[in-house]
Amino acid sequence: MNDAPGGDPLYEDAACGLLLTQADGTILHVNRTFCTWLGRVRDDLVGQRLDTLLTIGGRIFHQTHWMPLLKMQRSLSEVKLEMKHADGQRVPMVMNAVIRTRDGREFHELAVFSARDRHKYELELLKARERAEEHLRNEQESQKALAEARAGLELAIDAAQLFQWSVHMPDRERRYDPSVALLLGYSDRRVIEPAEFTSRIVADDRHAEAGALDAFLDAPLGRFQVVFRVLGVDGVQRWIASWGRPRPDASGSTTHLVGLLQDVTQSQRQRAEAEDRALLAEQTLGIVGHDLRNPLAAIQMASEILGLRVLDGGQQFALGERIRSSARRANRLIADLLDFTRARTGRGLNLSKTVVDCHVVARDVVAELSTAHPARLLRHTDIGDTRMTADGDRIGQALGNLISNGLTYGSPDTAVTVSSEGREHSVRLSVHNQGMPIDPGLRPTLFEPMTRGESAGHLRSVGLGLYIVREIAVAHGGHVDYMSDEASGTTFFIELPRLDL
């Protein structure tokens, strides 16, 4: 290598290390700068292979990356490797290399730059990168945990069949989750505009729902709660319970009311049914305990008198008649009670229809009750043809109830008038009595077995008579009504359509 540089200060003291090696890495020439950087003398280095100056990691890198690349590209730039200083320290170096062919032989020329500062800088970069990656990992983990928690909550909400809604408080804009569509009777989720939701609330409840929300938004404290009905697109009416709470945002101010909707139709229905059952039990007990006690007391008293002493014929007959009459009343109460419970538990009244003539039915009832109440005047008028298909016994029962009421509430000195009238499309049976008119306040509930909403303890049986009358009329497709005033007295009438004609 006679033409190799040597002794030239530009080469020897260049601002970088300069090396010339054989293709296998054996060092042929090395400048002073490089020797100084590694703390070695030139004779130590010449004849050594370049890779022996590297750390173990560097040697493997040299074999697996440097050599193949240099071979392929014929040159390399800016490869950073650590070299071993004579004192054992490591000196990070950035190296450029190029392959030259001279006289058919391959040589490698290297320029080497000390890279301590760059190395430090890179280490800082690496640390920063590791920190950033750790932050990213933490962030991703918390995002993941958040997503899992959210998914869990969504699942729980879905499993409980709850539906989300919210109100943006400043402009009172509502937002409904697409799942709310299911509450409105849609078969799948879809966007529900607030206007549509409101329009689906049944008219009677719409005002109350809006009012409750407005009141809450005016003073958003505690929990919002309201129950209303919606009419679904499927035609089904549902009871909806709506809950909500103001949600503070990151800055602590509440901008949203967030809440859930729940279909409470079933529990609403169950509650109504439970109330009905409780009422039924109470009514039944009332009837048994109060109404039935009177005739039984009369029977008991009459039988005690009969047992005490020997009576004359007239007295004995009168007592016998009282026992019969009281037993009849008790029987009728029991029959009414059975009908009542059948009707109330939804099983309806038993009807056995035949062709009957209502004149005959009315006449028989009037005759029977005249016998039972010899002191009272009972009249019967018949008009037209009253033959129809009906349950004659039931019609007689209804008429009997009306007549009994007329006898009870009418003035004792006036007649009770029963009329049966055949009309073109119906048969009308009516019972009239004079006396105090019925309190107009009773009209809405007069045919109910008991008035709902009366304070507890004040419930008293008003008799099941009118309730049974109405049930019989309804079972025949007809209805019952009355007129009552001071001047003309009180008239109850049953209107039965001639369904068969």
Binding site: A23, D24, G25, R49, D51, T55, I56, G57, G58, R59, I60, F61, Q63, T64, H65, M67, P68, L69, K71, M72, Q73, R74, S75, L76, S77, E78, V79, K80, L81, E82, N96, A97, V98, I99, R100, T101, E122, L123, L125, L126, R129
Partner: protein, 266 residues
């Protein structure tokens, strides 16, 4: 799964026997550019990049699958299923020689010969066994990989000079060759240099050529001799070469040795 894209598979030729070239730790299939053409007249050739290297699909890199050489061996068998209908000669450099062995043991009968270029069944010394490295050396290598993070990810482009020698390869090469995701490189290095498949060697009965360099710090000559002793049907050829890549630095001598082996084989 598209195996062609996953492993950047390149097949050429229509011959009956396929030579499958598998690169080792470091670069990619371009390592074979100087050697493979010697065989293209007589053999169909298949070159590919291991997942994580070269132009493979990095998204297919699954740390648990590639946590051992068996994951790579599984890929080899999938490559053989997909692209090699006939017999195969498996040419594996360095760690890929062991990957080829594992693939063969897993699904025997498809590889008729192994060409193992600079192989090592275990890089770490263990009792009487000399692998060339102490465990601390490997830890230091891994530490170097970590601290040279930025160096590893640089693309080590050619030097731009006033009057450069004409590069033998196109510029497109410089953008991917040897450029690896540093984390994958570190993982692959860990899996490679801590692997130990000495116990499988006696089970491989496929004829094998051990192509050993005279001076190789990664696979020293004692390792080649050990393999020759333990591998039942092996031939040991020592090439006069300094370094771990005889197919690059001594392609002619490497091709000649492989030719001799293939003549006996076919």
């Amino acid at each position: 799964m598209n195996i062609t894209a996953r492993n950047n598979v390149q097949v050429s030729g229509e011959q009956a026997i396929t030579m499958v070239f598998a690169h080792g730790f470091g670069c990619d299939q371009n390592m074979w550019r100087l050697l493979a053409p010697s065989f293209e007249q007589r053999f169909r050739t298949l070159r590919f990049d291991h997942v994580g290297s070269g132009k493979s699909d990095l998204s297919a890199y699954d740390r648990s699958k590639y946590g051992s050489l068996h994951g790579y061996a599984q890929d080899i068998n999938e490559l053989l299923d997909e692209f090699v209908p006939g017999p195969a000669i498996f040419v594996g450099h360095s760690v890929s020689a062991m990957i080829g062995m594992l693939a063969d043991l897993e699904r025997p009968g498809r590889v008729i010969g192994h060409v193992m270029v600079g192989p090592s069944p275990c890089y770490v010394n263990d009792g009487d066994y000399v692998g060339g490295f102490e465990r601390e050396d490997i830890d230091e290598l891994l530490a170097t990989l970590k601290s040279n993070y930025l160096g590893w990810s640089s693309n080590m482009a050619p030097v731009i000079m006033g009057a450069p020698d004409r590069p033998e390869l196109g510029a497109e090469l410089t953008n991917s060759f040897c450029q690896t995701d540093p984390e994958i490189a570190e993982h692959f290095a860990r899996v490679t240099f801590l692997s130990d498949h000495r116990s499988e060697l006696p089970r491989l009965h496929t004829p094998s050529l051990i192509l050993q360099c005279s001076e190789d710090i990664i696979a020293p000559i004692v390792v080649g001799e050990y393999m020759h002793r333990v591998l039942p049907r092996s031939t040991l050829r020592i090439i006069d070469n300094v370094g771990h890549c005889p197919h690059l630095s001594a392609p002619s001598a490497s091709a000649a040795a492989i030719d001799d082996f293939l003549h006996e084989l076919t």
